[in-house]
């Protein structure tokens, strides 16, 4: 939710780097950002127990 909130305040082509350590976000973050018209730059990376997402604002 805070990810979507932050994305709404950002300009086109800015990138949001989200670091999450809640396993559930592995599914929810990609599903929600794509559903709302943002672009996932690449597949989420997993380092140990942390998950990194890169999300680009399209417009």
């Amino acid at each position: 939710m805070q990810t979507l909130d932050a994305l709404q305040t950002m300009r086109a082509s800015q990138i949001l780097h989200v670091i999450a350590d809640c396993p559930q976000s592995f599914q929810t973050v990609p599903q929600e950002v794509v559903k709302h018209g943002y672009e996932l730059l690449r597949e989420p990376d997993r380092y140990g127990q942390d998950i990194h997402f890169y999300i680009r604002v399209l417009r």
Binding site: D5, D21, P23, Q24, T28, Q31, E32, H36, G37, R46
Partner: protein, 409 residues
């Protein structure tokens, strides 16, 4: 190694995981005549704690209703809970996802505790949480489960309104990055002992199950194994009833909702055969307490960030918050046990209301088909909602402008 990675490095499709849980819960009902449930046992635990402190609970009507004999180690419901915790722990360890996670904002701990109290109180007022009054209640054709579900949906809506407020959320730690920083991500994967610990836990648990079998305590062995299966499924599928309701109100995400609807359809069909062949269905009163309980439960689980099952597997992932939620649940359930007769909750909200068995009131065929139709309708409405609801924009029936673009590459 490929197979191992597929099972443990990626989460399972929620439709598959929850359909398996539906089959398992029906099998468990067929084997024991009881249903997959957890909060009854939480309440008993609360009762045991009161007894340690010298409180005489033998005259409390609620404890007599849910039966306090034995300890969690000698009850099937106890082993369901233990099995679920261990099952989730095992897959967390095998997938190397265990980490002590303390929320960035300390206020979350208090919020989780308060939410846990409200959810525990509500769940027991309705005589069951998201399992007994919902996931395994609907397949029992108990009408109260439908009331609970509607009230929970309304409750989660109120809960979302609460957690969306500024004073609840506080400030997140978010800032944009540049292209250069983007390249410099941490690298390297450390080898971990977690999978080995997981393996040891499996062996110890299996030894316990084998001991039960040798001692002739077959029901406990079945409960422990079923609990283990449930724990594995809720963790691997990240099955979260809270998010099934909450995410729809917040962002319109309905994957979990639809998966749960499908899982319940599977459970309903499987359970029907057992009931048809003579195992008595477990029907609970459809009373104002069901509605009020569901409403409170819905508000509570959103405030806590997890329902009774979601809280259990997240606790095993090392999320400290959910220890507070779990404690809140215990306190809430015990408070309800007190309020049941001492504060007159039973007399005002339950007494005089009858259990309604849909298979009896509608007849077997209509009861089964009607239940399946209602579940199908729920799936469809969730699907419709997810297509039209957008975060920050609300419900937009006309599909203008904001269309998701496909992912590149």
């Amino acid at each position: 190694m490929r197979f191992y990675q597929k099972i443990f490095q990626t989460y399972w499709n929620p439709y598959v995981a929850i359909s398996l849980a539906g089959v398992l819960s029906a099998l468990y009902f067929g084997a024991t005549g009881t249903v997959w449930a957890v909060t009854g046992e939480f309440t008993r635990l609360g009762g045991h704690v009161l007894q340690w402190f010298g409180v005489d609970t033998s005259k409390w009507a609620y404890f007599n209703l849910i039966k306090m004999q034995g300890s969690p180690l000698t009850r099937t419901d106890g082993w369901i809970v233990i099995g679920m915790l261990i099952g989730a722990l095992i897959t967390v360890l095998l997938s190397n996802s265990f980490k002590i996670r303390v929320p960035q904002q300390k206020r979350r701990l208090l919020q989780g505790f308060v939410g846990g109290v409200i959810a525990g109180f509500g769940a027991r007022l309705a005589l069951g949480c998201n399992l007994a009054a919902f996931f395994s209640g609907v397949p029992q054709f108990s009408f109260h489960a439908w009331l609970f579900m509607l009230a929970t949906a309304a409750g989660t809506y109120i809960g979302v309104k609460i957690v969306m407020t500024k004073w609840w959320r506080g400030k997140p730690n978010l800032k944009p990055v540049s292209q250069a920083q983007l390249q410099a991500t941490p690298s390297g994967k450390k080898r971990s002992v977690q999978p080995w610990v997981g393996l040891i836990v499996i062996l110890v648990f299996l030894a316990i199950v084998i001991t039960f079998t040798i001692q002739g305590k077959h029901l406990l062995a079945v409960a422990a194994l079923a609990g283990l299966g449930f724990g594995i499924l809720i963790e691997r599928g990240q099955i979260c009833f809270t998010s099934a309701f909450r995410d729809q109100w917040i962002s319109g995400r309905a994957v979990m909702t639809k998966a749960i609807a499908v899982g319940m359809i599977v459970a309903t069909v499987c359970t029907f055969f057992y009931i048809h062949n003579g195992i008595p269905a477990l029907i609970k009163p459809a009373a104002p307490s069901t509605l009020l309980g569901g409403l409170l439960f819905g508000i509570g689980i959103v405030m806590a960030g997890g329902c009774e099952t979601g809280m259990m597997y997240r606790m095993m992932e090392g999320q400290v918050l959910y220890i507070f939620v779990g404690l809140g649940n215990l306190v809430g359930a015990t408070l309800l046990a007190f309020a049941w007769d001492h504060l007159g909750f039973y007399n005002t909200l339950v007494q005089g209301w009858q259990p309604i068995n849909l298979l009896k009131s509608w007849g077997e065929t209509v009861g089964l088909l009607g239940t399946l139709a209602m579940l199908g309708l729920w799936w469809l409405s969730a699907h419709w909602w997810s297509r039209h609801y957008k975060f920050g924009r609300g419900l937009q029936v006309k599909s203008d402008a904001f269309v998701a673009r496909p992912m590149k590459e």
